[in-house]
């Protein structure tokens, strides 16, 4: 299958640089599974830069889509590289998911609440 990214929730600033509802902290989850029920996952949070955003690059909170925010998260992770010559965090996170499946580390999980 393919790795699925989900935005669990977002913290937003009530006001910032004269704008309202500016997304600051994004909590995300990504996962995948195979036909045999093996599962891999990772989760985390990403702090977004909220200063110096031009009008052209600002999206109103009410107009945001999950795809927009997932792309912000991926861009941030891709810009991070802990080790010289190593993978960026986006690759590490996605490899973590696929490796867990390949290693049969976890059985299938579902997310959500019953209410």
């Amino acid at each position: 299958m393919a790795i699925t990214w989900k935005i669990l929730h977002m913290d937003r600033l009530a006001t910032s640089d004269g704008r309202s509802d500016v997304v600051k902290n994004v909590f995300w989850y990504c996962s995948d599974s195979d036909a045999n029920g093996n599962y891999g996952y990772s989760y985390g949070n990403t702090q977004l830069s909220v200063s110096g955003i031009s009008d052209d690059n600002f999206t109103l909170y009410s107009s945001l889509t999950e795809a927009d925010v997932i792309q912000w998260v991926k861009d941030d992770l891709a810009a991070s590289t802990a080790e010289v010559g190593g993978s960026n965090d986006l690759t590490i996170v996605e490899n973590c998911v696929t490796d867990a499946i390949a290693n049969q580390q976890y059985t299938l999980r579902h997310q959500g609440v019953p209410w």
Partner: protein, 203 residues
Amino acid sequence: MALQSSGQISLNEIHIEAGGSSGTEVTINDSDVRALISASSESEIEIADFYGASSSWVVTLVSGSTTYRGILQTIAPTTGWTSQSYLNSGTITDDTFDPIASQGISSTSTVSTPGIIRDMFTNNALTQTFFRIWAVTEPSDSGWSTIRCQGTGGDSTDNTLNRTDGNAFYNSSQGYRQYRWGTSSSPVVFIPAFSTTYTITAV
């Protein structure tokens, strides 16, 4: 702040040091209280055992000599965390990470220490600070809220990072949690120099 090293200590003071609220119910056998002194659930303990106990994690770190201002793990630890090996000559006095000791580690675990420092460094190229913790169970954020880097001798370095300001993720395949602060546009130079001795405190 550590408990006093002599004299009378109340159970309430121990509870507060363990992260509890003053005046709330506590016993000396509570897991968070015992975790202060890394006592197993079977061992006998007494109040005097808590002299000098601290929920803070304090270590001396000598930063690496090149590329990474801190320490970087190169070899994955085996059971018992016995194979720590750090790149670029960095050293650390204690790579066990105590603040996560109260996270319900099974008493039957073969690993005596629930968490160890995998990496802690500021990347000289990207000006981002990384802090990665291996743990025998999936670690939560509990147990610490800030990490501080203080210079020694005449070095006036005093940098603090708030956990809640960082980016984090859990690597479920390799069993570590990574925290990262700073971006290229917003650098956070936690460990500012190479081959330098710092006191690192997490509390």
